[in-house]
């Protein structure tokens, strides 16, 4: 079948609109932080007792946030949500234009991963408003990632190669996309936790009043990264198992240490180490967070280097 060119063009337009919306949302998140003054007196109280208590963290912040900042925050969230809609439109249009699942090459895969990360962040931020303050740190990598995907990975919509024409594409790749997107949020939360907990270790008077002090409490960030990793780990496990089942029928063996398989295994092991580290004395807190950050680096390396540089069976990037 011939692809519907106008739908493909619409998909590309949606991509540009999404990048633009995310960029404006990023500016709005910045404005939220800039106008969000943190009353010092309020902050000092929980500081003495270490981590702020969990439940009040969100509400206290809401109360202390000036109305102007709150308005910027709402605007930023709304822009991100609209951006996510047009972002979904990119994939939906491609899917309908080509009459296939829109994750047959690296451009489509990367776009879908970023969408999952944005949606995961939106859901989490809607449920606990404290997390709206990390919008900048989620949307900045999102915008960078989208621009990178658009510049370096873009390929014209085309039919799938024979090897990808299997029901396992829907199962294995979808799971990998969701797992990756969630790990992305988890890794960002751990990186912010590392920054924030370092600041919290300082005596109260030495703490900055800048961006770092406006991050959610380190306990909130730690819990966010753990919960998302707990959610992502079984999905990633499933993605690897489904990939092995597919490989058994496509490549003649269920596991062959192809570079992609090797790095998926490495990522799995690193995330297993993170989940263990978080409940092990001596590894809790910052060491565990570092493990999670390493996990994110492995995931990104697996997407970029392994697909673009090393030659393996997973060479579906379509990028010359």
């Amino acid at each position: 079948m011939t692809p519907d060119q106008s739908l493909l063009d619409l998909s590309d337009t949606f991509f540009s609109i999404s990048v633009a919306l995310y960029s404006v949302a990023l500016v709005a998140f910045c404005a939220q932080l800039a106008f969000g003054r943190r009353p010092a007196a309020r902050q000092l109280v929980p500081a003495g007792g270490g981590a702020a208590p969990d439940a009040p963290a969100g509400t206290a912040e809401d109360l202390s946030t000036p109305r102007r900042a709150q308005r910027w925050g709402t605007l930023a969230m709304a822009l991100t949500a609209v951006g996510a809609l047009t972002h979904a439109g990119v994939l939906v249009c491609r899917g309908f234009a080509l009459d296939r699942l829109p994750w047959g090459n690296m451009y489509e895969f990367g776009t879908a991963v970023v969408l999952v990360a944005v949606v995961a962040y939106l859901v989490l931020a809607l449920r606990s408003p404290a997390l709206r303050h990390i919008g900048v740190f989620v949307l900045a990598p999102v915008v960078l990632g989208m621009v990178g995907i658009g510049l370096f990975l873009y390929v014209e919509g085309g039919p799938l190669v024979a090897a990808l024409r299997s029901a396992w594409l829907a199962i294995h790749v979808t799971a990998a996309i969701i797992g990756f997107g969630i790990f992305l949020v988890s890794g960002i939360a751990s990186a912010l936790y590392l920054v924030r907990s370092k600041d919290e270790q300082k005596p109260a008077e030495e703490r900055g009043t800048g961006l770092v002090s406006r991050l959610p409490a380190s306990s909130v960030l730690d819990r966010l990264s753990h919960r998302t990793a707990v959610f992502g780990f079984p999905i990633w496990t499933f993605a690897v198992i489904a990939g092995a089942i597919w490989a058994e029928s496509a490549w003649g063996r269920f596991w062959g240490w192809d570079p992609k398989e090797t790095w998926s295994f490495i990522a799995w092991v690193v995330y297993a180490a993170y989940l263990h580290a978080r409940t092990t004395a001596g590894w809790r807190g910052r060491p565990a967070a570092w493990v999670n950050v390493v996990g994110l680096v492995v995931m990104v390396f697996n997407l970029t280097f392994v697909n673009l540089v090393s030659s393996g069976l997973h060479s579906y990037a379509g990028v010359e």
Binding site: A55, R165, R223, A250, G252, W257
Partner: protein, 538 residues
Amino acid sequence: MTTTAPAREAAAPPPPARPSVGRRIAAQLLLWWRRLTAMRTAIVLLFLLALAAVPGSLLPQRSLSQANVRGYFADHPDLAPVLDRLYLFDVFSSPWFAAVYLLLFISLIGCVLPRAVEHFRALRSAPPPAPRNLLRLPDSGEVATALPATAALDVVEEELRVRRYRVVRRDGAHGPEVSAEKGYLKETGNLLFHLSLIALLLGLAGGKLWGYEGSILVTEGDGFCNSFQQYDTYSSGPLIDSGDLSPVCVDLEGFQAEYEPDLTASSFTADIRYGAPGEEGRTTMIGVNSPLRSEGDRLYLTGHGFSPTFSVTLPDGQEFTDVTVPFLPSDPTTMASEGALKLPDVGGGSDRQLALEGFFAPTGLVQGGILTSIDPRPLDPKVAVVAYQGYLGLDSGLPQSVYSLDASQIERGRLSEAGAANLSLGDSMTLEDGTVITFAGFKEFAALQYSHDPGQVWVLVSAISLLTGLLGLLLLRRERVFARPAPAPDGGGTVLTLASLTRGSSESAPRFAALTDDLRAALAARTASQPEVSPRDS
């Protein structure tokens, strides 16, 4: 030891008896065992495992491509032998990789087995008695009610049973109390996950020990039988010998490749006939993503290509008609292919042998005398051939690729070019000595792979149970709830002290608050439904 017994004057206090050697060794071993099975060690080993896998993806591996390893040796003649000695081209079968995962699995077994025993005991015993000071637990609180102690505990027990807790009432040292626990499945999931990992490793090992795999290029009309002698390449486990191979022969009856308008390959299929040797056999079609599965063996279509057919007529009238040789695709998008035809027995002795080195284009375009391929479909097949005469070096004892000539024989001048031409279908070229070479036609070949892995079903089952265990482990919570009544200080009714202990969730406070609220409501409801109780009691 500060004895002042007078009897012996030189009564140096007897030194603490040195434990026997055996005991010391045992103590040391126990220490090592404890260290190995500690969670900290497991985390370090997990890291080592991740790290150990890295070179396997960055350096060429023999298990993936022998050719790439040879290429690496050629590019880095000094470095490669050193790396090879460190098993860096066979990372995943190297002793140090095995050492890491075996240590990890020993650590895992040492950690999981005691937990399994403990869990089995816990499953059969009642929830533990309430700790003395309930208010010291992470989540605790007090609820006042007008009900008497026993009635209040009844309400608590009912409510907890509705929530599927396992509840026990005791008359402990500190009065009557309720202990409840739920979420045993969490630990069951944990154990299932870790035991499945062991099962998966065993399945993997079994598959490697008793499995085999052979690959062969088969041109349309040809076939092969399942035996190691026939395969182009094969690998087999140490516990399998050629007698264990299932007696199956396969013939390739036809091959089809289909392409989208933009020349993306959309499907490859091979019509095959298979069965025991000498049997008529059954026909079936295999393709990408759809192998043939039969009695634990699998047959895959892993690639395809073209086999040009040549006819050679020698000056003395000797003819080689329709010699078909597979050419290996060098560019999968245009199916441009390269290969060689070697004719060692053309009658002129060992230094009058004939060979062709060629380039095949399924749809060829000749520009400036250079042949290129522009389409993977065989619309206008052309070959560019270079003919050589001389000594091929086939009996020199060194293995040669069947897809190329031995370049060293050409360098040494023992094999010299005798003519070159671009040929369309049916075209001929004549060498100086009168030899005529005709491009007579072409066939398609399929790369087939025959595999046997007795462990893979076991691995699949392990993987599914691993995932099931993981979901139980991560999604369930293990909660203990304790309650102990005390008479209210003002003499009216009871004050219940409630406490809970949660494993596997960091957000126990809101749930405990909800449970407390529910209990308070239930107690209030009971008080309202039994109005006669409270007045009589107070």
